[in-house]
């Protein structure tokens, strides 16, 4: 549904994108993960036909974004930090106006607005001006505006940046529902948990390049897979715990004195967990903790880029001032 081939974008001598190639299939959620300034927003603006690439091609739903941007616009819905709604209009008016701009008739636009307001649980606030909305409500009406044209492709640019955890969860739920309805989604995020939560497949972007691609699990796998972690209930048993792990894993475990635990990489986590459990049982070593931990996406990001995801990169210009 989305196909970008070798997309390059330079702003003067700032190289925002250095050859991005990606492909997103029908009904798939593709997460573009990267820090500020990595080029996420530039790519989104190019895919949404707001910006022309310096070179490279984009096809959305089989339509070339460069030669036929109007047809692409009819296919996509854009929401997030780059799209916005009108503060002084009510939620309903915002959706109705977008509906009219999709060439819906007056009654049809009203019906569609009603439908979306209901789906977003904004019916009660529908006749209030958007400036009175909370941050979460604004994001929802913004997302709603992108749904008016029944898009087959949704482009969400950092949909939950700046929201509190509860509101984020609500928005995630909403996005999952849209995906269940068959929408293809490209979403950008700087939050690893968000990418993990929503995306089927991830592209890690840094300095205008995709530096890794795969399912969240595949990316974690690349970090050396699972580790078996055990901590004794009594600090005096740490040596014994370490000995058990060595037996299970076949190598010498990493011992973390401060956290009073030892860990070791394992290839078959279920087998390792069962074996270790049995050994601890027979040797009667009381445990505080026994778990298999998978590397977090944060670990992935760190190992791929050499810096943490939350670190601020150099802000790339996006051709306009930010809010």
């Amino acid at each position: 549904m989305i196909q970008a081939t070798d997309v390059v974008k330079h702003f003067g001598n700032v190289h925002a994108l250095n050859g991005i190639t990606l492909s997103v299939g029908q009904g798939e959620v593709f997460g573009l993960l990267g820090p500020n300034g990595a080029g996420k927003t530039t790519l989104v603006r190019i895919l949404a036909t707001l910006l022309k690439p310096t070179s490279g091609r984009c096809r959305l739903g089989g339509v070339d974004a460069h030669t036929n941007p109007m047809a692409v616009r009819a296919l996509i819905g854009l929401a997030g930090q780059n799209a916005a709604v009108d503060d002084l209009l009510t939620g309903r008016e915002n959706l109705e106006i977008v509906g009219r701009l999709y060439q819906l008739g007056r009654t049809e636009a009203r019906r569609r607005a009603e439908e979306i307001l209901e789906r977003l649980s904004l019916t009660d606030a529908s006749d209030r001006q958007v400036r009175t909305y909370s941050g979460g409500m604004r994001r929802r009406i913004d997302l709603g505006a992108s749904l008016v044209g029944r898009p087959r492709i949704l482009i969400l640019d950092e949909p939950t940046t700046g929201l509190d955890p509860r509101t984020r969860n609500e928005l995630w739920q909403l996005i999952r529902e849209l995906v269940a309805d068959g929408a293809t989604v490209l979403l950008t995020t700087q939050y690893l948990d968000e990418a993990d939560e929503l995306a089927h497949r991830l592209g890690v972007i840094d300095h205008g390049r995709i530096i890794a691609e795969g399912t969240p699990d595949e990316l974690k796998e690349r970090m050396g897979g699972d580790r078996l972690v055990a901590g004794p209930a009594d600090p005096a048993d740490l040596d014994q715990v370490t000995a058990v792990l060595a037996e299970v894993g076949g190598t010498s475990p990493y011992v973390d004195e401060r956290r009073q635990q030892a860990s070791i990489p394992v290839s078959d986590r279920i087998q390792a967990l069962l074996q270790a459990g049995q050994l601890f049982e027979t040797r009667r070593i009381p445990l505080r903790d026994l778990a298999v931990s998978r590397p977090s996406l944060d670990d992935v990001f760190l190992s791929l880029t050499g810096h943490r995801a939350e670190e601020q990169g150099d802000e790339a210009p996006t051709g306009r001032t930010r809010r």
Binding site: A83, A84, L89, G319, R320
Partner: protein, 250 residues
């Protein structure tokens, strides 16, 4: 092409903004009211205008000045939309791109109807009258609105070009000031020094003010009216082209 329905939708959107933010119209009226008071009561007694009462002379000038100053709101409105990202939403929709601009300029022209009506009412209070019949009176009103409409394309270009509200606010006065004062708006051009006359007698505001005044009160209409229409079309086409180009650039 969806140009006409989209323009109507965008006009509606901008008119809703005007209704929700009536202070824009109120502020748009404060300066003409002050200018009318200042010129009519303070300077009016000392200004000598041939063949007309000063109120009759002043009101057409004030109307043209008001649509020119009002154009600043077009620039500010567009810069505001740009900076808040609303424009990006519109640009991502399968709608006519020109409609974002034509809807804005249309709504601002509608605002011009309100402000100019208030100015005429105010004129009547200080003794202004139409001396050339109702049809020419209506014609003069339409001419001022047409000039106001064409000048909004200049300001639309400016707003899109400068992008930030602060820059636009600072910049809108620059062209408006010399254009309204070095003109026949408040006093006859003939009394200005020669070097200034060569500018003030030929610039668009003088043409439009002279045509409006003649249509309201009598005098030579054809010459200034034709020149006004040419200016109106010229400004609209020229800056319309650049505004659209600027908008497409994003």
């Amino acid at each position: 092409m969806s140009f006409v329905p989209d323009t109507l939708t965008m006009t509606r959107r901008n008119v809703l903004y005007l209704i929700r933010r009536p202070q824009v119209i109120v502020f748009a009226l404060i300066s003409p009211i002050m200018f009318v008071a200042l010129f009519n009561f303070v300077f009016g007694g000392s200004l000598n205008v041939p063949g007309l009462s000063y109120a009759d002379y002043l009101i057409p000038g004030i109307m043209v000045q008001t649509v020119l100053f009002g154009g600043g709101n077009t620039a500010i409105g567009l810069a505001e939309d740009m900076s808040r990202g609303v424009i990006d939403r519109f640009r991502s929709l399968p709608m006519s791109r020109l409609a974002v601009l034509s809807g804005r300029t249309m709504a601002d022209a509608l605002r011009g109807i309100i402000t100019n009506t208030v100015i005429i009412v105010m004129g009547f209070i200080i003794g202004f009258r139409f001396h050339n019949g109702p049809w020419w009176a209506i014609g003069s009103f339409v001419l001022v609105l047409c000039f106001g409409y064409s000048i909004t394309w200049f300001f639309a270009w400016m707003g899109l070009r400068l992008r930030t509200i602060e820059a636009v606010q600072a910049a809108t006065f620059l062209p408006s000031f010399p254009l309204t004062f070095a003109a026949s708006t408040f006093a006859p051009v003939e009394n200005m020094p020669g070097w200034l006359q060569s500018f003030s007698a030929n610039q668009p505001v003088t043409q439009v003010v002279d045509a409006t005044r003649a249509m309201m009160h009598g005098g030579e209409i054809a010459g200034p009216l034709i020149r006004s229409i040419l200016w109106i079309i010229g400004i609209m086409v020229f800056f319309g082209f650049f505004a659209v180009r600027e908008y497409r650039k994003g």
